[in-house]
């Protein structure tokens, strides 16, 4: 017998994976119809959600705040994009086998690192491995030398900046500012068909569910507890015989891979990937999604990613000038008042209601708040005090004794 909140979760998942595409199949006249545009939009949001899951695993659980996840997202997206570019072949504006930008960059032969991407299977692997390996190297250097807390955040931010600079450079043969665009087919299937978009959506949704299952499995395992422990007291973990560096590295790589997958699914759905997705700002925005949704709870991360972006695409239409102000306010509000994000807010609400209901002998529905959905909700208000402790290396001399 499922708990009602668990049920809620499954229903939500079902609606996302099956409901939306089916609704898209309905005739436009039916009230339940979901337009291609909306479906495509949500497809994009779901890719963000995948990334958010990884980021949450890293930040919400292990307490490692990466401000450079745009890079891994970008790596995945570029890996996929490169394959799609090569698929275009001579159908491009210049009717050349080379990608357009190479033609106007006077590149005569395909650069060596492009060649492998002719192979679909290689691409599918690269989408995960390239970000993974990159994260492995970077993380190894960072965690081995015990760069922690804010230091790590700033280093990752620097990483985002330099990656952005490099990807913008046309000499890199990655399309410079324009990035990779104008994809025609997705592994042979023409992209401009609604059916393809629907397919992509379903793939993304399934990938999201998979990613969620993976993260849940990790957080439920003892390793998951070790991660939380690291956030609480890295030294204690160290002296309990675990190597925090390895655990951080592990989760860093996993989240990078998830980001890569997200990017790979993003590129064909949006039809373009540019360095603009890699830079400092996008990377921080990704953090907002998690923070807003509720860090430390997987569902929160997903909610945040979808919610924030939904609001963005609405605000940028109806109140263009206010978008940034809203984003900023959201940020400050979350940090100040809802350290555990929207989900946390709901939960506390739920708990209050639960309390009220429990007054009466027969509470109609179980008062278990949503928090018990899957995760060990690690960022209850307790975690607010938990945080500074969790960063021995944090430069603050002002820790209240």
């Amino acid at each position: 017998m499922l708990k009602p909140d668990r049920l809620l979760l499954w229903v939500a998942a079902l609606v996302l994976v099956v409901g939306m595409p089916l609704a898209n199949l309905l005739p436009p006249t039916s009230p339940l119809h979901v337009s291609n545009f909306t479906l495509n939009l949500f497809g994009k949001f779901l890719t963000y959600a995948i990334l958010a899951l990884g980021l949450d695993l890293l930040w919400g659980y292990a307490g490692v705040l990466s401000l450079g996840h745009g890079v891994f997202f970008g790596l995945g997206a570029y890996a996929m994009g490169m394959h799609l570019m090569l698929e275009i072949g001579a159908k491009s504006v210049y009717q050349s086998a080379l990608p357009d930008f190479m033609v106007w960059n006077q590149v005569k032969t395909l650069p060596f690192f492009w060649r492998p991407f002719y192979s679909a299977s290689f691409t599918l692997v690269a989408v995960v491995l390239v970000p993974g390996l990159f994260a492995l190297v970077f993380g190894f250097l960072a965690f081995r030398s015990r760069i922690r807390g804010v230091y790590l955040s700033i280093i990752t931010q620097a990483l985002a900046l330099s990656a952005w600079l490099v990807f913008n450079r046309n000499e890199m043969n990655l399309g410079g500012t324009n990035g990779l665009a104008d994809f025609k087919t997705f592994f042979g299937i023409p992209l401009n068909q609604p059916s393809t978009q629907r397919l992509l959506y379903v793939i993304t949704a399934v990938a999201l569910v998979g990613a969620w299952a993976l993260c849940r499995w990790i957080t439920r395992s003892r390793a998951g507890k070790v991660l939380v422990a690291i956030r609480d007291s890295e030294t204690r973990v160290l002296f309990s015989g675990y190597s925090p560096a390895n655990y951080k590295l592990f989760v860093f790589v996993v989240s990078a891979m998830l980001a890569g997958v997200a990017g790979a699914l993003y590129a064909p759905q949006v039809g373009i990937i540019t360095p603009a997705k890699i830079g400092v700002l996008p990377s921080i925005e990704m953090v907002v999604w998690v923070a807003a949704g509720g860090r430390g709870t997987l569902v929160g991360a997903v909610l945040g990613a979808i919610g924030v972006n939904w609001i963005q695409s609405w605000l940028t239409t109806s109140y263009p000038d206010l978008w940034l102000i809203f984003l900023g306010a959201l940020f400050m509000g979350v940090v100040l008042f809802f350290p555990d994000g929207a989900l946390g807010a709901f939960q506390r609400l739920g708990q209050h209601l639960g309390a009220l209901l429990r007054r009466r002998p027969s509470a109609p529905m179980s008062s278990t708040p949503i928090q018990s959905i899957g995760e060990t909700n690690v960022s209850r208000p307790a975690s607010r005090t938990g945080h500074p402790r969790s960063e021995p290396a944090s430069p603050t001399p002002l820790q209240k004794a």
Binding site: I155, V166, A291, G328
Partner: protein, 551 residues
């Protein structure tokens, strides 16, 4: 062809100075003036020649006015009268302008700009005017008290290398004292001789130019070196000179690079200083630092406009007012930020990071709504534009010299404040042990506010300084924030010395490799370097080692 003719005329005129002046405009000049007001390019050019040929200083002054675009025509009776416009001003709702007669510049009162037709001098006309004025101007300029003016004149003659100019230059050289002007004059003379002298003179000139390290002579010398017709002596002289100059160029390039490094370092330092203080002393990662800089910059902009409007005569001084003001404005904003939100988050650096980033977005968009998305223009005061020559081929821009100075002052001030003043004592006390200093009656909250205000103020100062080299827009801060953070992290938190050293190191390194790698990859290289550096010292250059704090 025409140009050559003009050159000859000028030469002739220079050779035999002080021709008698026509008292009143002659008929041909009258006609020329009429042509000037017309549209026919050829005739206007001819007209310039006519007026120029009179050699009358007053007419030359007129030509100068024409070139500077302050010549107008007004309908008078049937035809147009040519006038010279003076300073503009606003009377009531319309702009009016002082007008003077074309010839002797006798004031004719003021009249609305709208009623005047601008007699413009396009590029072509100005090229026609140039030789006449050059000839005359050089005279005036060589007499000018300002060394830079005299030097400018010399350089101009050097570029033209007209044979006719030689006597003027010699004359000037004879009575010139200032070394830089002498240098320029000698260079001009040598170049002229190189162009027009006989074999011996050319050889001598070549040697001289070599001795003068004249970079601008290299093309001419190269030509001479390769000139089959030239005598071996000349070619020999030329090639030795070229070698000499090239060696010198190497030196100057190094000096320039060094200065550029210092300049970049000082900028980084200015930006990072405030950050370092807030970060190091309070453990607050202030992502809004860049926006506080933007605030400082916009303050400068506002002050400038204010001076433009109210005190045009004191405009040069606006920057001196802007400096302290931008400090204050940013500091105030800082206090608001600190008291308003940040104080709730002490001891949680990551939260402060997110929070301040949110704040930065709001400030940014606020600025955009207030001042518009476009950049705003902040013009440099005279004393911050141009540069000072320090050695042949090296001119140090004043604005950069100024910023280096400013950075030095700020650092000194910080040191005094933190380590010599009682306020600094309190700050350090709170930094080290909040509870204890509270017991000792230090008002921690007060100190926090001051410290943050200080950091913010420094940001404002940096922003103000940046208006002199960069542009001022809502997203100004974004361009700098990451760099500043890198400096702070590399320097080691809470260590001024570290910050200074890091800024210097990064600046120098960056400028050292930029010529080779280009801007982007230089930056990337820096970031990688920092990354590897942190491998050795995870807590930066001057990390406080010591008994490990408890877990």
């Amino acid at each position: 062809m025409r140009r050559f003719a003009l050159a000859l005329i000028v030469a002739a005129w220079l050779a035999a100075p002080a021709v008698g002046h026509a008292a009143a405009p002659a008929a041909d000049v009258e006609r020329a003036l009429a042509d000037l007001a017309g549209a026919d390019v050829e005739r206007r050019e001819a007209a310039v020649a006519v007026i120029g040929k009179t050699g009358d200083p007053k007419w030359l002054a007129f030509l100068a006015a024409l070139r500077d675009g302050s010549v107008y025509a007004r309908k008078k009776g049937g035809q147009l009268e040519i006038l010279v416009g003076g300073s503009k001003s606003t009377q009531g709702d319309k702009d009016v302008i002082e007008i003077k007669s074309a010839y002797d510049g006798a004031p004719l009162g003021t009249m609305p700009v709208a009623d005047l037709i601008e007699v413009s001098a396009d590029r072509r006309l100005r090229i026609a005017i140039k030789p006449f004025l050059d000839a005359d101007e050089t005279r005036g300029q060589f007499a000018d008290p300002d060394a830079n003016v005299r030097r400018g004149a010399a350089i101009k003659l050097a570029n033209q290398a007209d044979a006719g100019a030689a006597p003027t230059v010699e004359a000037a050289l004879a009575k010139e004292k200032d070394p830089w002007v002498r240098q320029a004059l000698a260079e001009a003379l040598a170049l002229i001789r190189l162009a027009h002298g006989d074999a011996a003179a050319r050889a001598a000139a070549a040697t001289t130019l070599g001795g003068l390290h004249s970079l601008s002579a290299v093309p001419a010398l190269k030509r001479l070196e390769g000139d089959a017709g030239a005598s071996p002596a000349e070619r020999e002289a030329a090639s030795t000179a070229i070698k000499k100059i090239e060696r010198w160029t190497l030196l100057t390039t190094t000096v320039e690079t060094a200065f550029q490094g210092a300049s970049l370092a000082s900028i980084l330092l200015l930006m990072a200083l405030g950050l370092a203080i807030v970060f190091g002393l309070m453990g607050v990662i202030n992502m809004a630092h860049g926006e506080l800089m933007a605030l400082g910059a916009y303050t400068t902009y506002v002050v400038q406009n204010w001076f433009r409007a109210s005190w045009p005569q004191a405009f040069e001084a606006y920057f001196l007012v802007a400096l302290p003001l931008s400090f204050l404005v940013a500091a105030t904003a800082g206090v608001v930020l600190e008291r308003g939100v940040i104080r709730h988050l002490y001891g949680r650096p990551l939260e402060t990071l997110l929070l301040t980033w949110g704040a930065s977005l709001i400030i940014q968009q606020g600025l955009r709504l207030q001042f518009g998305a476009a950049n705003v223009d902040v013009s440099s005061p005279g004393w911050l534009s141009g540069g000072v020559p320090v050695m042949v081929g090296v001119t140090l821009p004043y604005n950069r010299v100024f910023i280096i100075g400013l950075a030095t002052v700020c650092v000194a001030a910080m040191y005094w404040l933190l380590f010599r003043s009682s306020a600094g004592l309190r700050i350090r006390a709170v930094t080290q042990n909040r509870a204890m200093s509270a017991c000792l009656g230090v008002r921690a909250s007060m100190v926090d506010a001051t410290t943050f205000a200080l950091g913010a103020g420094l940001a404002g100062l940096a922003g103000c300084a940046l208006t002199q080299i960069g542009n001022v827009g809502p997203s100004l801060g974004q361009n700098y924030i990451v760099d500043s953070f890198m400096v702070v992290v590399t320097g080691g938190v809470g260590k001024l010395a570290g910050t200074i050293l890091a800024a210097a190191g990064i600046g120098a390194l960056n400028k050292g490799i930029e010529p080779a790698l280009g801007a982007v990859f230089a930056k990337v290289a820096i970031l990688i370097a920092v990354m590897l550096f942190l491998q050795r010292r995870p807590a930066g250059l001057f990390a406080t080692r010591g008994r490990n704090a408890e877990a």
